[in-house]
Assembly symmetry: C2
Homo-oligomer: 446 residues x 2
């Protein structure tokens, strides 16, 4: 990063007059109920997002956790005709890929493939990635159980509080907020409890282990029940950290045992790393914290990876062409960006940076939690992928707005949590800058 | 188009040695059963696709009908820093759009909005567009029928032979080929017969009208049955021309009556223009051929529009934020391309070009059909969106390969049809060039 601003700078309230004007314009075209403000991406740099009213904010939310290395200052990739061509000639990747496609997959996605996986399928977004991962599990399960072909009543087991997307297959496994599912038909698939742990995890090991054992027992019960119902569980899908659902953690022991349960019952194991993947936990994939050689059968991704898609073990590859297929199957221009992003991550040792910044961030949250015990609780995190609970929903929302007024952009998750989702270039001095502002905001809410 | 090649030029068999080598490489990473060959997009121009072995083919398939104005010779859009910025700063459009977003929507998608629609929502691909269009219909239907909130058993009525995508909601309405649906759980939704008409339509008006009446009657029966089953039809989805399913046409009268049936029963009417939209029928939207002021409640698009999405009437807008939502909600850089493409379409009067070329193409197909009555039947089309039936599946596939060997790229659809899907820059002399090659290939199969 050659150049970055030296701090937030606020000119107007947010949204400012220009943002309000544009929101009104866009309101003639779309529902704008979720619009925060409009951005000037040309002026945004590194960890700073600049809005159309000239407000410059330290971005600790990064477009719902989807910007890997901050807002770039220059774009070396547009200098050559051949890379420009990659942006305008969007191929039907499944039938007529460009010459450099295997090489770029190797340089980008395969260079960070999860343990045990050498195959990857790109898709346009996170929901399509999960939809197709589910299909791959159904196809595999039908073959591995010698079930007769047809449209069988297979199911996917998911967890309360989980989020896996909003298309209809994904939505049947999403349980973070009721508004996401309202009015949309769904499948009768099993939903297991996700452990509700106490933080810091290392202080409550015994209680947490009991809670995890309870949830695992329930998982096995549900698998048996749904088999008896004639809707056998083809796959289990889980996030390494439930993100939209409130940054809910579980221990490596839980995930290891869950992986074994999947094995035992012949279900595929799908780890959804759409939000956790790409380095923010201090490892490239959050599941690497489990220390397993064979962590999953399928790992899906999107957001910070710039392209959607999923890695899978050899046996999860559909047996025939056109089963996992669509016109675009992703966008190869995103692989070019990803290859450059991964080079930066390696060259600048950004995973170490994240680990360092994350420790400082979590330490700071612990201190604030000690200072404001009636306001804050359950500080938790891996790398900079951190969160903290606020007294109640209303206070949480007020804190988010006040922090924004002071030039720090944060996001909520779950019922009353704040999630911290900086880019991988969030350094220790950015952490301190953030903690100073956050501390001021908390003082106003005590 | 400043420069284009003067005809096909074949150097090797297809796939050639380099394509085979790359297919083998990619086979280590993905299922390559559908790969035709690898392309050199930098050398491809206008109507000509160049492969990695130096074969130059007249492209009458255009990446499964997804290239609007051919392969570009230059990329004026990359000259400015601000448009480069649009390519690398991918925003979460639903919460923090770029400043020019409303303006670019107006210049691009809204400038070609279907009659009666001034609202549009972008999405990343065709499947996500239809998934979200279905959700919008469910949400609207719940409100308009005063049903209690929940995950109700609403349904979407679709047609045999229809194709609407491969994610799980879409797949429940897709019925073009069994392999698409195999092993994937589905919904119990009604499927109506699509008229099986005789071509040319104007020669069989009475029989065709009877067939259409039979199908419409069945639609009404199904709506009543599913209401009685407790799974009322929230929406009807249909393609103006069933494309994947075999280029099946119906008359404007059929669509008008179907639209009225939707009205009468309180179901939303969704026209899926993912393949038909963007000008290839000689009108920008295929449904314009129906001559209706109020053709639909929702029109979805993707492919030639470069971005996915759907237009909808005001009342189909979800009442609350975050109901039709995901992280990216499309990719605004695609709107920039689309705005340029639309400018070219207008400046060069490409819809007139398509109408002219399409007439010549269909005339040529009629002549060939007269010449080879045992081989060809049912030539049909609107604009250059044409098709013809071949004696049987095996002969069809042989013709496709032989044509490719002679430098003409075609695609199949349905059981035994060939579909013609040139770009909008396919001029009359390209039609003649194509017909010459096609005629030679047919002579070999007679």
């Amino acid at each position: 990063m050659e150049f970055e601003y030296d701090g937030p700078s606020m000119k107007t309230e947010v949204p400012g007059p220009r943002s309000k004007e544009l929101t009104k314009q866009l309101g003639e075209i779309q529902n704008v109920g979720a619009i925060n403000f409009f951005c000037n991406y040309e002026e945004s740099r590194g960890n700073y997002l600049v809005d159309v009213d000239g407000n410059r904010m330290l971005d600790v939310y990064t477009q719902i956790s989807s910007i890997p290395i901050g807002y770039p200052a220059e774009f070396p990739m547009f200098t050559s005709f051949s890379s420009q061509s990659a942006f305008v000639n969007r191929p039907a990747l499944g039938i007529m890929p460009p010459e450099n496609f295997p090489e770029k997959l190797a340089e980008s996605l395969l260079s960070v493939a999860p343990s045990g996986m050498s195959r990857v399928q790109t898709m346009a977004c996170g929901s399509c990635s999960n939809e197709n991962a589910y299909k791959a599990m159904f196809i595999w399960y039908r073959v591995s159980t010698h079930t007769d072909p047809g449209c069988p009543d297979f199911s996917i087991l998911s967890f309360m509080g989980g989020f896996h997307g909003r298309t209809m297959g994904c939505l049947a496994t999403t349980h973070s907020k009721a508004i996401h599912k309202l009015d949309v038909p769904s499948f009768d698939w099993p939903i297991a409890p996700f452990p509700k742990l106490k933080y810091p995890l290392e202080e409550f090991t015994r209680e947490n282990a009991q809670e995890e054992a309870r949830c695992l027992e329930e998982v096995e019960d549900l698998i048996v029940q749904w088999r008896q119902k004639g809707r056998p569980v083809a796959g289990i899908v889980i996030e390494p950290i439930q993100a939209e659902g409130g940054d809910n953690h579980a221990t490596p022991d839980f995930f290891k045992k869950l992986r074994n349960i999947a094995h035992k019952h012949g279900s595929a194991f799908h780890v959804d790393e759409v939000q956790t993947g790409g380095g923010a936990t201090g490892k490239f994939w959050a599941h690497e914290h489990w220390g397993m050689d064979d962590p999953a059968d399928i790992v899906s991704f999107s957001k910070k990876m710039l392209t959607g898609g999923f890695y899978h073990k050899d046996e999860l590859q559909a047996d025939k062409a056109y089963r996992i297929f669509n016109t675009w199957m992703g966008d190869p221009s995103k692989n070019l960006f990803l290859a450059e992003v991964l080079n930066v991550i390696r060259r600048e040792n950004l995973l170490e940076e994240v680990t360092r910044s994350g420790k400082t961030l979590l330490q700071g949250l612990y201190q604030l939690q000690d200072q404001y015990p009636n306001l804050l609780s359950s500080a938790r995190g891996q790398g900079t992928f951190c969160a903290i609970d606020i007294r109640d929903d209303a206070t949480r929302n007020s804190i988010l707005l006040k922090a924004r007024d002071k030039g720090v952009l944060l996001g909520g998750c779950g019922d009353r949590s704040i999630r911290f989702r900086p880019a991988l270039v969030f350094k220790e001095y950015h952490v301190h800058m953030f903690l100073n502002v956050f501390s001021d905001v908390l003082a106003e809410h005590n």
